[in-house]
Amino acid sequence: MQKNSSTRLFGLMFPGAFWLIAFFFLPILLIVGISFLTKGDSGSPELPLTIDNYSRTFGEEYLTLFGRSLWISLISTILTVIIAFPVTIWIVRLPKKWRDMAIFLVMIPFWTNFLLRTYALRFMFLNEGPFMRAINGVWVDTLGNENEIELLFTQFSVMLGLVYGNLPFMILPLYASLEKFDWTLLEAASDLGADVWRSFVRVMLPLTAPGLIAGSILVFVPAIGNYITVELMGGGKSQMIGRTIAQQFSTANNWPFGAALSLIMMVVVTAAALVYFRVGRGEQAR
């Protein structure tokens, strides 16, 4: 009997456990191993063991890189929240049939390849493209300014790309929270003397915090590791950690250093997420 049930338990756990071990723990162990190796002449990681990869990470160059990556991701997450919240409120308040349609529209971009969409966005910001040419036409010729506006290859264009790419990941969890929200609570708050802003902060925000927290994590974490958007929208000018890691594994051919960087990034992101969850939960309890 005892044996039978433990066999069954093993049987039930096997697929999940196998998946975790084969595709999560083993690769991470591999990365940890590589991060302590030395870059060989031919590019493949070699002995001897070293901690140089880590000490190099704590140099000024890479600390600045981490700082900038965190900063850009943070700002783009905040921008995503600021855009997604009103949009989601608007969607939730639509009549039922339009609401489903709106959510469908939010998800439609997923059917197009992310790279393709980013190229399209890049085209819109390219100074040779029709969109920017029209703007600069007005800016230089009509308003008489000397220099053309350049939006591409700036921190701003990187943030915009990140916001654009990640917006659905904020809208969907927020929608799930807002859909359950009881709107009479806002009337109650207003009845008790709270203006629109205080009703939002004291009633709506705490009650939609789960969706907001989930959405923020879903937006922040991919943003910090992103390299396609950083590459296409930022050029070389606003380097982020994700792109650096990608370069270490490709052009620079320095796997050990890339491995060390990605492990440190993992630790930083996990720590940030934990702090955020803790703060978020405290906010809810208040």
Partner: protein
């Protein structure tokens, strides 16, 4: 400037509220007195809740003026009106404790924190829930949540308390208890209560005055006694309590009383507002105001022979349906005698003489 124009707590002046093509509130005027327990009574969709929401400021009237304590409300938003609402669903904040819920309004008015603490405690004592301060609403029963909602509104000492079917979700026994408690509370705190309900018994029990509404219109405003004894139209007579309607034509009017012909029989009753000779009208007589007798008094008015159709003994009274020609009439005889003698009661098929006093019969315009 416009202050103290009237001494009404709340005044609605020719208020209209359109939702699309539908007038939810259709030219309603009423003046609610200070410290009054005022009920708006009517079936669902009659506009009573919309009226309440207009007073609270959740909706803006399409037309007409609303005054609270003489002050014209205009576009004043809900959060700036000195009224508080007890919602049908209670609308307690699920993420806050009972004490935080009750203190919410004071906090919004930036009252000092120790005063908030003191007044929240007082309010919770008022609704007899002092030990529940640290609970969350979800951990409480419906009746307790209802009291918290009441405390949350009363703690702000509003000029007017608006209650939107607050007892609707409670079971019958609790509802009866809360009716008495609410009425006592209202007398105790001396605040004007505007109470929306579809339950006529609730309205009769608790109110100083009732406004009966139907299809967005205020049909009659008066004390429970006036509403029950002198309904001004068929709807009010029908909606409040039970009544018999006899359709006929007004033959003559003599002061307060008049004669009406109902399928060949002549009845005398009190003439209602706006009824004229020759009008098609109906006579409304409450079942308990009718009397069945074995032998008629030959001089009495409104006395006709009928046949007993059915009889139901319900303890406090006996409910008899008699046939007056083709018309069915409900008669409730109070069982004022304690008897087991079957011959005391009428039997189906028996002849009986139906009689009622003219002052108990009301002639209402069609």
């Amino acid at each position: 400037m416009a202050q103290f124009l009237t001494d009404s707590a709340v005044e609605l002046c020719d208020v209209v509220k359109q939702f699309g093509d539908v007038a939810a509130v259709d030219h309603v005027s009423m003046a609610i007195r200070q410290k009054e327990f005022f009920s708006m009574l009517g079936p669902s969709g009659c506009g009573k809740t919309t009226c309440l929401r207009l007073i609270a400021g959740f909706e803006q009237p399409t037309k007409g003026d609303i005054r609270i304590n003489g002050q014209l409300m205009g576009d004043t938003p809900a959060f700036q009106r000195n009224v508080n609402t007890v919602f049908q669903s209670y609308a307690l904040f699920p993420h806050l404790t009972v004490a935080q819920n009750v203190g919410f309004g004071l906090e919004m008015k930036r009252v000092a924190s120790d005063e908030i603490k003191r007044r929240v405690k007082e309010a919770l004592e008022l609704v007899r829930l002092p030990q529940m301060a640290d609970r969350h609403p979800k951990q409480m029963s419906g009746g307790q949540q209802q009291r918290v909602a009441l405390a949350r509104a009363l703690v702000n000492r509003p000029q007017v308390l608006l209650l939107d079917e607050p007892l609707g979700a409670l079971d019958l026994k609790l509802r009866k208890e809360m009716q008495i408690e609410l009425k006592n509370l209202q007398t105790q705190v001396g605040i004007t209560f505007i109470y929306v309900t579809h339950d006529q018994e609730e309205a009769l029990t608790m109110s100083d005055r009732i406004c009966v509404m139907s299809k967005g219109k205020a049909l009659q405003i008066g004390s429970p006694l006036e509403i029950y004894e002198r309904p001004n139209c068929r709807f009010v007579a029908d909606f409040i309590g039970e009544t018999n309607f006899l359709d006929g034509k007004v033959l003559q009017i003599n002061g307060e009383f008049g004669e009406i012909e109902v399928s060949g029989r002549k009845f005398v009753g009190r003439i209602g507002e706006g009824v004229r000779v020759g009008d098609k009208a109906m006579m409304s007589i409450r079942p308990e105001k009718m009397l069945l007798v074995d032998k008629p008094n030959p001089n009495a008015l409104n006395t006709y022979e009928t046949r007993v159709a059915s009889i139901a003994y319900v303890g406090s009274d006996t409910r008899i349906i008699v046939k007056l020609g083709d018309t069915q009439v409900d008669v409730w005889e109070q069982n004022s005698q304690s008897t087991l003698d079957p011959s005391y009661f009428f039997k189906p098929g028996e002849a009986a003489w139906l009689t009622f006093k003219p002052e108990n019969a009301l002639v209402i315009k069609e």
